[in-house]
């Protein structure tokens, strides 16, 4: 009984501690802003330093605007990630099967990550216009890298003894891939996918800043010009929720797929 009691309390504390910590932070922020302490210290107008209550109000009053723009950004991220997965896994498999592909493309894959997004985003906007295309390209460009590198590592991590075993058990090259190498690479692939999901919102915001007519990044940019700081905070909050939801979905998918860990 006593054991179960402590265990249950341990479980509750695991949730309660971060919640209490967050509540304390928000509380301090509320006090610091409503008394005008931060604004005074920074020598700013009060409306430039919104309190949590003001951010919550902005969130509620702008809910339709935020939803519309969140939907635009979410679509960009989902399509960008989809292409990143297709290209990333495709590259990893091609590199795993062919030493020629590996040697000829691996340096380029790494070089692709040295291109500053800030530089390439405006060029893509010039080429593809203000629509979805440049956003998808930019998100795919930064997200395929962690997917490729991790998937390739996973494919190479396969036990050489398992390869001998599969050869001796009459496996063709493709059977060896599907039955031994691909499942062994799945945990690494999900690691890459989680990194990709976290950097996707950054790519989305950057690409929207380079030129767009809608989206959370576009909203933040226009609010900066109009000193709508409370709504900016609300937009960032929505963006974080989107990123967390995508992360949660990825973790859930991993638990459903990689059942042997």
């Amino acid at each position: 009984m006593g054991d179960r009691g402590t265990k249950r309390w341990g479980g509750i504390w695991q949730w309660l501690l971060p919640v209490l910590f967050l509540a304390a932070l928000v509380g301090i922020w509320q006090i610091a802003t409503s008394t005008g302490a931060i604004a005074d210290a920074l020598d700013l107008e009060d409306f430039l330093v919104p309190s949590p209550a003001e951010v919550a109000t902005a969130l509620w009053e702008n809910r339709e605007l935020l939803m519309e723009n969140a939907w635009v950004t979410l679509r960009e991220m989902l399509f960008g990630l989809l292409f990143a997965i297709l290209v990333g896994v495709g590259f990893a498999v091609a590199m795993h099967f062919s030493g020629f592909v590996l040697r000829s493309t691996y340096p380029l894959v790494i070089a692709s990550q040295t291109i500053p997004i800030v530089v390439i985003a405006p060029i893509l906007v010039v080429w593809f216009g203000y629509g979805m295309t440049p956003k998808i390209v930019i998100i795919a460009l930064i997200c395929f890298f962690p997917i490729t590198v991790n998937a390739l590592d996973g494919l190479r991590s396969v036990d050489p003894e398992a390869v001998k075993l599969m050869r001796s058990l009459d496996a063709s090259r493709w059977q060896r891939f599907w039955r031994a190498e691909a499942p062994a690479a799945l945990p690494s692939l999900f690691t890459g996918l989680k990194i990709a999901v976290v950097v996707a919102p950054i790519g989305a915001i950057f690409s929207e800043w380079a030129g767009s007519s809608a989206g959370l990044g576009h909203l933040i940019q226009s609010d900066t010009a109009n000193f709508q700081v409370a709504r900016q905070f609300a937009t960032v909050f929505v963006l974080s929720v989107l990123a967390l939801a995508l992360m949660g979905l990825t973790a859930l998918a991993e638990r459903r797929v990689v059942t042997w860990r």
């Binding site: 001998k164 075993l165 001796s168 058990l169 009459d170 496996a171 039955r179 059942t259 042997w260």
Partner: protein
């Protein structure tokens, strides 16, 4: 001294048994190695290996660690090619043909964690293009015969060490190949489980005789399970002795391994091992 033992004073004196004269027509399952050398780059691993195993016999390979006995097994299986000499399995000398005739059981059980026990056992059938349902049905019969019924759907990490080795052995057996190549199959098990598994394997081979090559560092295991045991020297591996086992795969293991003939053979093998370690 038992009637069937071939341990004669002469053979004990010379510590080798003359290999039988090569037959003109090799039966399908026979393994024959002649003058096999192997090297990893500059590192000479095996020198002038001559070995023969008739059909449905078990050939044991013992030697100090690093002597190249696992490499020798992979050579026989067609997973590697020798630097010199010929290796024939069922008359075939090409690596791909040898690979088609041998089922390899690696040192660790290497059950694939994403498959259930029965899907692991049926892996070779699936690779041969048989549907999942049929492959499982074929494996299910063996699960029952080998004391694994009830564990068909278990994941490998839910099985004990001994059970994992049984599933790994069934996987090798189900491949339906004439030759089984076993690389230290029980090395990872504790002493009691290992003895049990040796008895189990002996029973399996009595009911379903196959030609097998058994690599082990355990002299007793080799002499109990094999018909003939080749002792290899430290690297580069050469054959320093070849012994006949007094009572291969006897139903009563405890009686077999304490029999004076067995004990004498074990001592002889150990002496050969020690000579091989010193480098001859």
């Amino acid at each position: 001294m038992r009637q069937d033992t071939r341990m004669t004073p002469e053979s004990r004196g010379s510590q080798t048994v003359e290999p039988p004269p090569p037959r003109r027509q090799a039966p399908a399952d026979e393994i024959a190695l002649h003058g096999v050398d192997h090297a990893y780059g500059e590192l000479q691993t095996l020198v002038a290996i001559d070995l023969e195993a008739p059909a449905h016999s078990v050939l044991g390979l013992v030697g100090p660690s690093g002597c190249g006995k696992s490499t020798l097994l992979e050579l026989i299986c067609g997973l590697r090619e020798p630097a010199a000499g010929t290796i024939a399995v069922g008359g075939a000398t090409e690596a791909a043909e040898r690979l088609a005739r041998c089922a390899f059981m690696p040192q660790r059980d290497l059950l694939l964690p994403w498959y259930s026990a029965i899907d692991n056992a049926a892996l070779a059938l699936r690779n041969q293009g048989i549907g999942r349902r049929k492959a499982r049905a074929a494996a299910a019969g063996l699960f029952e015969r080998f004391g694994l019924d009830g564990f068909e759907a278990a994941r490998p990490d839910e099985l004990s060490g001994g059970m994992r080795q049984r599933v790994a052995f069934l996987r090798t057996l189900i491949a339906g190949k004439p030759v089984l190549a076993l690389d230290e199959p029980f090395a990872s098990l504790d002493a009691i489980t290992r003895a049990e598994m040796q008895e189990w394997l002996a029973a399996a081979l009595r009911t379903d005789p196959r030609t097998a090559v058994l690599v082990t560092h355990d002299v007793e295991e080799a002499l109990y399970l094999s018909d003939r045991v080749a002792v290899l020297s430290a690297r580069p591996g050469r054959i320093v002795a070849e012994l006949r086992a007094p009572a291969p795969r006897a139903p009563d293991r405890d009686a077999a391994v304490t029999d004076p003939a067995f004990v004498a053979a074990r001592e002889e093998a150990l002496r050969a091992l020690r000579r091989g370690m010193r480098g001859s």
